[in-house]
Symmetry: C2
Subunit: 413 residues, 2 copies
């Protein structure tokens, strides 16, 4: 008998009516012949309220105690969900992360899963229960409660699906899948039927919300198909899976625009071993998260080093650079706060030429100037003026026909 | 170094200000040289709100899931309390019942404590932490979360005090101790400095709130002094302890009046072995809690059997009696719903004559008619007309000088 994991986020369990609706979905899957594990988040704004309660007592609360506090939100949801299932005539049992031995490291508020004792769950599945597990939480070796940080419930769900060898991990959310681009910025965007883990990871790192990178990484590592779909209807959503041959026929799967970016350039840095390491380890110590890095030699002795950061990190980054600039003999610092990054992602780039060319041409035709370019194996990103952001995205989306289904734009090999 | 347990009820931790005040008390005790364990209940109306959430989904929720839900209330309080202590510069750590291995039986919503792993707590005390434990909850052998039912946090606190061999278990509450009688009904009542476990158990069974019987039983069994005191001031409250010789010099420690009572009488029941058992086992099956039982022979073959129940149980009791009356050849059933029971309690009765006489005389002088009388070793109760309830209590309190301190009314041996 197949196992299915269904994960419901906070908005999908915000009140009694929504909890009942989620319970009905679990029963439906059960009646179709699956063993069902439900993973649930805290109800609606619960977590925010608990954080406010904590802040009132301690603006810098100990992380261990924060995890102790926040984990109650999911615990409430799962017990209520079990009650709803019982009222609907179904055997159900709820578990905390600790109870199923969801063992994590001890990094409170951002712990990583080490192992899960699948037997506890399996025994209950085998006696006809729908098993409901509190997402977002685990426990460390000391049996202290830990939480998994942003996107934690998704990660719990995918990890459980891996441990129980589930056929699929369904992520129910308030959007109905992954789109070729953000429909608010490119209204012609279409829902993807399928996307590869690697593409999804690139999109997640480019800020295209929906799924958190860690959950996708877990899915990739254990080959768990992740089905992102709407909790409001029965339409199929988007399946995140390992790469299949037909994906290579599509040049570009999706396009994104990131706006809250700044670019810092160190001009005329001494081009010798260890200087880049000095700069970026100093930035890491200052807790600045660096996005793209571009280095170019400008002479045999000198190089320019540029990198992008979130606008929120700009002042910290600037301060760190000022501190280190003397040490690397930097001749000048140049900062741009008014930039955006337009990116295209697709595994098809690996086997097709001309993707970059097509992107640059689209931007040129739209009269968008390209400041700089970075690429990965399956991504091309261009930094453009912030004022050109929308125009750049639309131009790129149109060029790669992201208003059409994947089938309609499959290229010959 | 001595250990002290401080228990704070829901009203004493209802908001951030009150949590801080409770935290300050713990620090004060720590600074005076004790190792401190704090036991906390759910904040204010939290438990009621969670019950309402449950009822919305399932009017008859599975008890296991109810425990899973309700235990989150205390977990929130203890983590918040630890944050408050941290903000006040103090090392603190919070634990759930499961984490300290507060092992109970599996009777969800009314579980009984079997054992506690004191080592987990002791290790943290020995490294200078104030340890905060979620009251009201434990876990059974399956590692399912259990709750202890009414008065559960008091029981947790006393059980922890026993396990850690604490010098005292302080129960902080919104009253400032145990009074000789209910001050709302006998305004001259005075606070007792000391009361024995047995007296407190009798008072608790007579509905004189403050402490639940189970917590007192635990205190008696393990000889834990329980100090009931106000969370609003620093006045000493009432110490519940083992019996000390001077207690015997006091005829009566306290007096109570219970109003929500009804009396059922089975008249002319066949007086043969097993008939009383038939009646009361039938009542037990109907889940009626019987208070006092009075049986009197009226001939060699017949007896009258009377008993009292809470008014809320009257209709169930009447139904059960109607069902069984034929089987025990009952000649008539007589029900009184308009009764009250006035009681006096004191270990001094054991060694002094004339307590009953003094009580009956006081009632007679106040022109209160006595319907029936029951006694235990340290208690005398009289059933009176409901309309005479207040008058009866005042007469009895005055007769035993319950407006005076224990010292002032100590009798020669």
């Amino acid at each position: 008998m197949g196992v299915i994991v269904q994960k419901f986020g906070g908005t999908s369990v915000a009140n009694a009516e929504k909890i009942r609706r989620a319970a009905a979905r679990a029963i439906e899957a059960f009646k179709k012949g699956s063993q069902v594990i439900v993973v649930a988040s805290a109800r609606g704004k619960q977590t925010d309220e608990l954080i406010a309660d904590a802040m009132e007592l301690n603006p810098n609360p100990p992380r261990r105690e924060m995890d102790m506090l926040l984990s109650t939100g999911e615990q409430q949801t799962v017990s209520l969900m079990a009650m709803a299932l019982d009222a609907m005539g179904h055997k159900a049992i709820s578990f905390t992360g600790s109870q199923i031995k969801m063992l994590t490291d001890g990094a409170h508020t951002r712990a990583r899963i080490i192992s899960i004792d699948a037997n506890i769950i399996r025994r209950k599945l085998d006696t006809g229960h729908i098993v409901i597990v509190a997402g977002f939480q685990g426990m460390d070796e000391e049996e202290d409660i830990t939480t998994l940080g942003r996107g934690g419930s998704d990660t719990s769900a995918v990890a459980l699906a891996a441990a129980l060898k589930a056929d699929v991990c369904e992520i129910y959310t308030d959007v109905d899948g992954i789109y070729t681009s953000d429909p608010r910025k490119y209204p012609k965007a279409v829902k993807m039927a399928r996307i590869s883990y690697d593409e999804m990871l690139e999109l997640a790192s480019l800020g295209a919300g929906v799924m958190h990178g860690r959950a996708v990484e877990f899915g990739k590592k254990y080959d768990v198909p992740i089905h992102v779909r709407s909790s409001m209807n029965d339409e199929p959503g988007t399946l995140i899976t390992h790469e299949v041959p037909q994906m290579e026929g599509i040049l570009v799967s999706g396009a994104t625009i990131q706006k809250d970016l700044a670019k810092l350039s160190l001009l005329g840095v001494d081009n010798r071993p260890g200087n880049a390491a000095k700069i970026f380890s100093h930035l890491a110590r200052a807790k600045v998260i660096v996005n793209d890095i571009i280095q170019t030699e400008i002479s045999t002795e000198k190089a320019n080093i540029s990198f992008t950061v979130a606008t929120g990190d700009l002042s910290d980054a600037k301060k760190a650079i000022d501190e280190i600039s003397g040490e690397v003999h930097c001749q000048g610092i140049f900062v741009r706060g008014d930039i955006a990054e337009v990116s295209v992602v697709g595994v098809g780039m690996r086997s097709h030429y001309g993707v970059a060319d097509k992107m640059f041409r689209a931007l040129a035709e739209a009269e968008v100037n390209i400041d700089s370019i970075t690429t990965s194996e399956i991504r091309i990103s261009c930094i453009v003026d912030l004022t050109d952001a929308e125009k750049a995205l639309v131009a790129v989306c149109d060029a790669f026909e992201l208003d059409k289904s994947a089938e309609a734009r499959t290229q010959p090999k």
